[in-house]
Amino acid sequence: MKPIISLSPHVHGGDSVQKNMYGVCIALVPALVASLYFFGLGSAIVLATSVAACVFFEWAITRFILGRERLTICDGSAVLTGLLLGFNLPSNLPIWIIIIGALVAIGIGKMTFGGLGTNPFNPALVGRVFLLISFPVQMTSWPVSGQMGYVDVETAATPLAIMKAAIKSGDASLLSQLPSSMDMLLGQTGGSLGEVSAICLLIGCIFMLVRKIITWHIPVSILGTVFVLAGLFHLIDPSYAAPFQVILSGGLMLGACFMATDYVTSPMTGKGQLIYGIAIGVLTVLIRDFGSYPEGMSFAILIMNGFTPLINTYIKPKRFGEVKK
């Protein structure tokens, strides 16, 4: 017998990259089902295209451009990027735009930096923002939920657009056009296909918390900050929407639970994650209320992704036995 020798520890907890990545994918299943229910065929086509394109580009780039023998498509990160990218798109987006989005997400957002673990920005968001800026018309004509088709669907203003209009005109009565909070919670509203049902996203988030895939710091700090800030604005001027509606609208829930919590691009320590989350919350509200875009979540997350290395450098965990100077 040739014994194996290695330094301790000799056992491993059994956690793996795959488990975490597919865990997040499983957490996205309720929202996926909801999107199929609300947008039908459109949702299916967009998601399938996005996932397939992301996996394909990951494979093609590792294999032919980087020339790596070991392929990484099985670790689930490309599938997850594809899912999240799809969740951020309207359900009637042409396939070719989706493929461009996937190429940017995987190609520029991830593989240029060396692949999983080294990308500074969330790849799905890089893809999404690229599309948002390049194809503003297609990216912001949101189909009304409840239509099963892919082409020729009826579009309407999203709750965020209504809020923006109310702020711009200063006319609080516009806000009465908003769908009820209950509808927004369940998903009876317009928007990107994955972001409409807040309740399903919350279920997924709780699943991830229970499985210890993520910690509470980022979602709680983002949602809390947005709630407090939006409430403050609402109190000062009622033409700003009520905090509950702000939290339930747009990509806030999706961003707070699934995009901002991306391992690679978020800070390592709990303290750092709180700072990161609070900053994202503040930026989101500022962009939504005062910026030119109705939605600020993606930009806020990308901006804070850029600050993550800085946070990691300066926010250290509390050392054992550390004495405050």
């Binding site: 040739k2 014994p3 194996i4 020798i5 290695s6 330094l7």
Partner: protein, 328 residues
């Protein structure tokens, strides 16, 4: 009028305050650079190639000045400028130029996969330092090469490579600058920075095992068993045995190769000699290794050492006085 006055006062005071801040900051954060660094940098080739292992020529100049403060420029070499430039640098820094005898890194282990059986399997970070923490490592020899390539990673000149067949590092003599980074990186101190020798010819004991003969032999078929035969056969007192390990002093060695023929373990190797007529100096095969085992029973070092000393002294044609000289 009033407006102009206000503007002048405000701008003037802003200017003054800013000047004051700049002045204080300039005092407070002034960087005093050693003048010598610039002087040294001047004689360097300014290729900024990084070949020396420092970020650019100015980085190397800084390192030279720092090393000079400690009294020696050892281990620092500009691979582009070579010895002449280093002499200039030494001149600037008020040091004597180092002896210019060319040196080269030598891996003192021949524990190939055949010669040294693996008794365990290492699993973990591929680093010799990590394996070193596990005692003797994959083989029974606690002194031999661990084979994870820390030396390869340390080399800035791509002069040392792992041979996948033997599992041992091999030095490219053309590229090696004898900077010593590999010797420092090796946790077992196997790599020796040795004189290159006449026509690059060297005779070296390729073993680092300090265990007693019997134990060495169990671990490796080409290990030095400290039998003292080489000491006896050497006419120039170039070989010493310390801690059960023979060592050939490169300065005393006259490259006669008698020890190579004498060694029962084939632990002594000659490099860069023309092929011998009767027996080519090829790397030892397992067969040769076995021959070594058969011919020699475990010798006791103390017994062998006593007659060895006088034997070497009398026929010496070229007796050198520096007997006490410690090996490098």
């Amino acid at each position: 009028m009033n407006v102009i006055l206000i503007a002048v006062i405000v701008l003037g005071s802003i200017g003054l305050v800013a000047a004051l801040i700049l002045f204080l900051a300039g005092k407070k954060f002034a960087v005093h650079e050693d003048e010598r660094i610039a002087k040294v940098a001047e004689v360097l080739p300014q290729a900024n190639c990084g070949g020396c292992g420092f970020p650019g020529c100015s980085g190397f100049a800084g390192a030279c000045v720092k090393a000079a403060d400690k009294g020696s420029l050892e281990g620092l070499l500009c691979p582009v400028g070579g010895q002449p430039v280093m002499e200039q640098v030494a001149g600037i820094l008020g040091l004597k130029a180092e002896a210019s005898a060319p040196k080269v890194a030598v891996v003192r282990c021949n524990g190939t996969c055949e010669n040294r059986p693996r008794i365990a399997e290492f699993d973990g970070a591929q680093s010799c330092k990590v394996q070193q923490m596990l005692g003797s490592g994959e083989t029974a020899c606690a002194y031999g090469c661990l084979g994870c390539g820390d030396c390869v990673a340390a080399c800035q000149f791509d002069a040392i490579r792992m041979n996948p067949e033997t599992g041992l590092p091999e030095v490219d003599e053309e590229k090696c600058t004898a900077c010593g980074a590999c010797a420092k990186a090796c946790p077992r101190g196997i790599i020796e920075i040795r004189l290159k020798g006449l026509k690059n010819r060297r005779v070296v004991v390729l073993c680092n095992n300090k265990d007693k003969g019997a134990q060495t032999r169990k671990a490796c078929s080409v290990g030095c068993i400290a039998c003292q035969k080489c000491v006896k056969v050497c006419k120039f007192e170039a070989i010493t045995v310390d801690q059960n390990l023979a060592h050939i002093d490169a300065e005393k060695c006259k490259l006669c190769r008698k020890c190579e023929d004498e060694c029962p373990q084939n632990a002594i190797h000659a490099f860069n000699f023309p092929p011998k007529k009767e027996k080519p100096a090829s790397p030892p095969t397992p067969l040769q290794g076995e021959r070594g085992v058969d011919t020699q029973a475990a010798p006791v070092t103390e017994k062998a050492a006593a007659p060895a000393a006088p034997a070497t002294e009398k026929p010496a044609t070229n007796v050198e006085p520096a007997k006490e000289q410690e090996k490098a």
